[in-house]
């Protein structure tokens, strides 16, 4: 157990591929909570979320040889989770986004969102706002604010250049702000 804990994700993947498939359990343990947290924004029903999460781990296992061992495993598995979440949304035509209690604290910490609105934001308005933002702005925004991923990691997950990630996050924030201003003050 101790040995497993000091191995990096990439080292475990290498061992799973060549020697010991049972080590994949360690990967699941490391990512189950993180991915559940991420997927919950797209999938509200907990049974459906578990099914999607299971699909993510199965898909990741099947395609382990597709992973480039010199890159970050976390970005790779987040990419799979992201694609599965999008497939789920497409399949069930759902577009709402759900945020949890701890994510509100994260949002409060993001002072650059808008000082004025930070204090007045209502949960359902933010959720509605994020859900209404175009997918290309919404996804980097979610990964940046709620998953606290760096621009480089977001770039790896969404397959975008780092500069583009920054621009999309900035635009996403602006759009969200515009939406909230409109909702609260009726101004554009």
């Amino acid at each position: 157990m101790h040995q497993k804990a000091i191995l990096t994700d990439e080292e475990i993947v290498s061992l799973v591929r060549t020697k010991n498939q049972e080590l994949y359990g360690e990967i699941i343990r490391r990512y189950e909570t993180k991915l559940t947290h991420y997927l919950r924004k797209f999938i509200h029903n907990s049974d459906e979320l578990k099914d999607v999460l299971q699909d993510v781990f199965i898909k990741a296992f099947r395609n382990l040889y597709d992973f480039d061992i010199d890159k970050k495993f976390s970005a790779w598995i987040y990419r799979i989770a992201h694609n599965e979440a999008l497939n789920y949304l497409k399949k069930y035509h759902r577009h709402s986004i759900s945020l949890e209690g701890e994510e509100w604290n994260l949002l409060e910490d993001k002072k650059d969102l808008n000082k004025e609105t930070d204090t007045q934001l209502l949960k359902d308005q933010i959720e509605k706002g994020i859900a209404l933002i175009k997918e290309k702005y919404r996804d980097p925004l979610i990964l940046s604010i709620f998953e606290e991923k760096s621009y480089e990691e977001i770039g790896e997950i969404l397959h975008l250049p780092t500069g583009t990630v920054g621009i999309r996050i900035m635009r996403g924030k602006k759009l969200l702000q515009q939406f909230l201003n409109q909702e609260f003050y009726g101004k554009k």
């Binding site: 994949y24 770039g155 250049p161 500069g163 583009t164």
Partner: protein, 260 residues
């Protein structure tokens, strides 16, 4: 720890792995996928470069660009003889190469604009090199030659030699009072000079290459503009087409000689 809990995601996934229901996909499968995508990209890239090269070759080897020397009068003839198939083919292949490249996931961290510019740049450079080699000329030879493979290339070259309604190019074989007969890659056509508004710089002579704009009326072509071409090498595809149709050029004997 939630060991052996059927609702636990880890247990569910690991039981499927242990039972062999979920297996690792072979690394050779991924290798083959990558190779397949790579080959498809190289193929579309080279085809795009070839189509660009063929378009350039077409423009410099046929009468197409010559019609622009007549100004607005030659616009219809220019459009009629433009290599749309090659240019559209080039654009489609260019987009296809870009799509395959994006699909492969390579260099995703580079801005798309730069990649697209680099792709277009490389295709243009290689295509230009193609157009200056004998490859395009050889392809033209195959297209109109007796070999069975010719049918594949013919649709790309044939519009360069087709008979047009608004323009004509060829070699003078006979000069009349207000007409000339010229050899084209298809047949000898009488060009009526009665309504000529823009004439040649040189005196017309048998054997001279000319290009004219106007309108086709039945079997003859009524020219409104006619330019002489200094060197028949400036329109090599038309020259070769005429050579294939009529053989080596020999001035037609004067009519008085034929009547004897």
């Amino acid at each position: 720890m939630e060991k052996n809990n059927p609702n636990n995601v880890e247990d569910k996934v690991m039981s499927q792995i242990k039972s062999g229901r979920v297996k690792l996909r072979s690394k050779y499968l991924f290798l083959a996928e990558k190779l397949g995508l790579g080959s498809a990209f190289v193929l579309t890239f080279m085809l795009a470069a070839l189509f660009f090269g063929l378009s350039l070759f077409y423009l410099k080897a046929t009468d197409n660009l010559w019609y622009l020397s007549f100004g607005s009068r030659g616009l219809l003839a220019f459009l009629e003889s433009f290599p749309f198939v090659l240019v559209i083919g080039w654009i489609v292949l260019l987009f296809l190469a870009g799509f395959i490249f994006r699909k492969s996931g390579a260099l995703y961290d580079k801005p798309f604009g730069y990649l697209a510019l680099a792709l277009v740049g490389f295709i243009i450079i290689i295509g230009t090199i193609f157009s200056f080699t004998h490859l395009t000329e050889r392809m033209e030879g195959v297209a109109f030659g007796p070999r069975s493979g010719g049918a594949v290339f013919r649709p790309f070259f044939k519009p360069g030699l087709d008979e047009r309604n608004r323009g004509i190019a060829g070699r003078i074989v006979e000069i009349g009072a207000d007409y000339i007969n010229i050899q084209t890659p298809n047949r000898i056509i009488k060009v009526n000079l009665g309504r000529l508004e823009e004439g040649p710089k040189k005196k017309l002579e048998v054997g001279m290459f000319v290009v004219a704009v106007g309108e086709k009326h039945g079997e003859e072509f009524v020219a409104t503009g006619l330019h002489d071409i200094n060197n028949e090498e400036e329109m090599p595809m038309i020259r070769r087409g005429i050579h294939r149709r009529f053989g080596s050029f020999e001035p037609t004997p004067p009519p008085i000689f034929l009547e004897r």
